[in-house]
Symmetry: C2
């Protein structure tokens, strides 16, 4: 099939979330090329397309992991990349037709600190979610961000995505802080505790020998189990 028609460029963009000091944060990079030079944008870049039928390049999620690594030094495997959806309105890039496949992932707090700008970025930084209203955002990344925010909320509330936002070992209070940052509302500690204990009973997490993290009283510390024996409902 010979293409006589113009082809679009295809990129991946990544919304990487973390909860740091009880604050929901999004990872943005500062552009050092035109257009939107100096504006903040989602990390991302072009999908590598191969040279023919036998070399067709990389898969989309591979591209997303590679771009995140190249631009922010977050290594793949440290995050669980998921697709958010395609954003491809005509005119979203002033230069030419660019369709982006947006992804999202969560970053554990102990890795979040190692973020630093890569080749195509002048800076890389974590922004507190409410504060990004005051930041100049490139392209239609504000829209993508809003969708990603929705997706994160759902994934944490209903799909156990809180797993990827905790440190390796965490107390119930720390986990609750993540849920509160995600939902934006305070959560009853007693009810939250029972809810989490049910997940422990289902094999999703186990108490570790360690104890006490912060606060007044010693708290039991948990860690996630590789795979829940019983499927989480």
């Amino acid at each position: 099939m010979a293409e006589k028609y113009p082809l679009p460029s295809v990129t991946v963009d990544i919304a990487a979330w973390a909860v740091l000091e009880s604050d929901l944060k999004i990872l943005l990079i500062r552009r050092k090329v035109s257009p939107f030079l100096g504006a903040w944008a989602l990390p991302g870049g072009f999908v590598r397309v191969g040279t023919g039928p036998d070399d067709q390049g990389e898969d989309l999620h591979e591209a997303a992991e590679r771009e995140l690594r190249e631009e922010t030094h977050l290594r793949a495997g440290a995050v669980s990349m998921q697709q958010l959806g395609a954003f491809g309105s005509a005119g979203r890039d002033p230069r030419t037709r660019v369709i982006t496949i947006a992804h999202w992932c969560s970053v554990r707090p102990e890795l979040a600190a190692y973020v630093r700008a890569g080749s195509d970025a002048e800076q890389a930084a974590w922004f507190s979610w409410p504060k990004i209203d005051d930041v100049e955002i490139a392209f239609d990344h504000r829209t993508i961000l809003d969708h990603a925010r929705e997706r994160l909320r759902d994934a944490i509330a209903h799909e156990g995505a809180d797993r990827d936002l905790t440190p390796e070992r965490f107390s119930i209070a720390e986990l609750r802080a993540i849920h509160e940052a995600s939902s934006g509302a305070p959560i009853d500690p007693a009810n939250f505790r029972r809810h989490f204990l049910a997940r422990v009973a289902a094999g999703e997490a186990v108490a570790t020998s360690g104890a006490r993290v912060t606060g007044r009283r010693r708290a039991v510390v948990y860690e996630w189990q590789r795979a829940g024996l019983n499927p989480a409902s």
Copy 2:
């Protein structure tokens, strides 16, 4: 930005659902070109990309509506097109790198009958969902179909997507048949009725003057309201 790298082709594919005679159906077309000549596939085709910064072509959902219309004669506006996600594994098309943005929509039964093959298809036909296991499906469209099936189930159960599958006017029993086809399990008529009546009370639908459709006893006939005054929960 001059691209020195090879670019992928971008297509849209559409999973169009309908419930006909209490059976969940998916719309497929029979390919009349290679590859997968003679196999069944989702309707779809290339996204039109413009010729420069000032003409960047059509939006993705426009492309999806256009392709569905061209290949099956379902006119846009008759369906509510939603994006499912991007499928872009290297090698999913044997010829060259093709990334497809999958969409899905629902088709009202009175329009489903007007489907006929368009230019790029030899046939267009509605397949009962369980039966497609026996059909040869082109590309990775089986995978897309499975995702679309999941999405439809969720959208009907939680997002009011049943709206788009009913005839203009419908009885509660007809609506229940749609839910049963979607979930694959029988639903208690009494409980379903109460659940729907709560939606009527919320302004989502209203009873019409007409009555009786099928069955023994006259049933009240409803129609959807343009926009619910109260948001549906």
